[in-house]
């Protein structure tokens, strides 16, 4: 098996390396990829969409269909993880461990109690005893709002600087994952409920497709944001810029919710009670 694999790898690698002789040189401005449509994007983006970040303009406007179905791919991956892993029944075995907040004494219960003890006296902790790490928990508590603020900035400022819906959505999702890592999965799930996560993921895709359908209803083509100018009360070029912004908000929402959804289901094997 290893010999066969080595033969395949050597053959494919040799073929590819011999093919690179015909490839354009590194950094060649006249390489074929840079001559076909990209000069139009570089030279005309500003007058057609008034968006200085060409990558954002191409992503959300010129190639809007591609990005819409990309968002759908992300949403579908989240749904697939949910359907594969999510379990409704509770995890078997000794299930409840509590820490007495004042003394630090750990209490383990062989079966779930009928009534939860008061959370300000007994704090529920994971089965595999998590230490009470004051510094990590409080530093993350201070940090998370700023991470989320930065995520919103990256989404909203994606027209003028590197950024956009995908990047900002991942930063927002990472802030929730950081909460789950530094505190525990239950805290993160109470702060961002499972139903809300699923709804946000679907809402993101709906916003994207909805903006496209609205353009269709206003008499333009699907995802032709210039048709939205009567509603937005701006000229068609600025309407493109605003349309890109709405679409990026949808992308950010979908990506953030899906990242959290995938992490939660993977980390807790679908039980959503405790995990990494």
């Amino acid at each position: 098996m290893k010999a066969l694999a080595l033969a395949i790898v050597a053959l494919v690698g040799g073929l590819l390396i011999s093919a690179t002789v015909d490839f354009p040189d590194w950094g060649d401005p006249a390489s074929p990829a840079s001559l076909h449509v990209s000069p139009h994007y570089v030279e005309k983006t500003m007058e057609e969409t008034s968006v200085p970040n060409i990558v954002t303009a191409v992503l959300a406007d010129y190639r809007g269909f591609d990005t819409m179905f990309e968002t759908t791919v992300v949403f579908t991956a989240g749904v697939a993880c949910f359907l594969l892993l999510r379990r409704r029944e509770p995890r078997p075995g000794p299930s409840r461990v509590y820490r007495h907040r004042a003394t630090g004494v750990i209490v383990e219960m062989s079966q779930p109690p009928d009534t939860e003890p008061a959370p300000e006296v007994f704090k529920r902790i994971d089965d595999d005893w998590t230490p009470h790490d004051l510094i990590v928990m409080n530093v993350c508590r201070l940090l998370i709002p700023f991470i989320q603020l930065f995520g919103l900035y990256v989404i909203a400022h994606g027209h003028h600087s590197p950024g956009g819906g995908f990047q900002g959505g991942v930063i927002l999702g990472a802030s929730v994952i950081l909460l789950a890592l530094s505190w525990d999965l239950r805290t993160a799930t109470t702060r961002m409920k499972e139903t809300a996560t699923g709804l946000m993921s679907a809402t993101g895709v709906f916003i994207y497709a909805g903006v496209g359908a609205l353009a269709l209803a206003m008499g333009g083509n699907f995802l032709d944001y210039a048709a939205l100018s009567p509603i937005l009360m701006v000229d068609p070029v600025a309407a493109r810029s605003l349309g890109i912004f709405f679409v990026e908000v949808g992308v950010g929402l979908a990506v953030m919710a899906t990242m959290v959804l995938i992490y939660r289901n993977l980390a807790s094997e679908g039980h959503l009670d405790q995990g990494l």
């Binding site: 790898v9 490839f23 401005p29 200085p52 992503l59 697939a80 993880c81």
Partner: protein
């Protein structure tokens, strides 16, 4: 020998990506552990992403974000040679997202396989499947 030096200097970036790609392909074919196969798939995807981004590079050009003043689109003409090709960046932005999505689904499948077979080694799983 001397005629190969310019060839190396202008093309070695492709060779780096091909090496990375072959490492990923090797891991996908030869490794026995399913998680290592997934890692190989990710290395492969990274090689493709680097390849695309390097195609867009131009000497003496800057990132594809236009320098602009307060007005909208009334500045001096923009020359395509001054900005690197934005198209590969867009394509790879979406490819990264797809790679995260496939990674998530692949790990979910791996968890299900581990729950059923209690192992992630491919030969042990195949043995269990033959016995049953």
């Amino acid at each position: 020998m001397e005629e190969y030096i310019p060839l190396f200097l202008t093309k070695y970036n492709y060779w780096v990506y091909i090496t990375l790609m072959m490492i990923g392909l090797w891991a996908m074919i030869a490794k026995n552990n399913l998680v290592k196969k997934i890692v190989g798939m990710n290395i492969f995807q990274t090689a493709i992403i680097l390849f695309y981004v390097s195609i867009g590079a131009k000497y003496g050009a800057t990132i594809p974000i236009l320098q602009h003043g307060s007005g909208h689109g009334h500045e001096a003409a923009v020359h395509a040679a001054d900005y690197i090709n934005p198209l590969p960046h867009v394509l790879m932005l979406t490819a990264i997202v797809v790679s995260v999505a496939t990674l998530g689904v692949a790990l979910a499948l791996v968890i299900k396989i581990h729950q059923r077979h209690r192992t992630l080694e491919e030969d042990e799983i195949l043995e269990q499947l033959r016995e049953s």
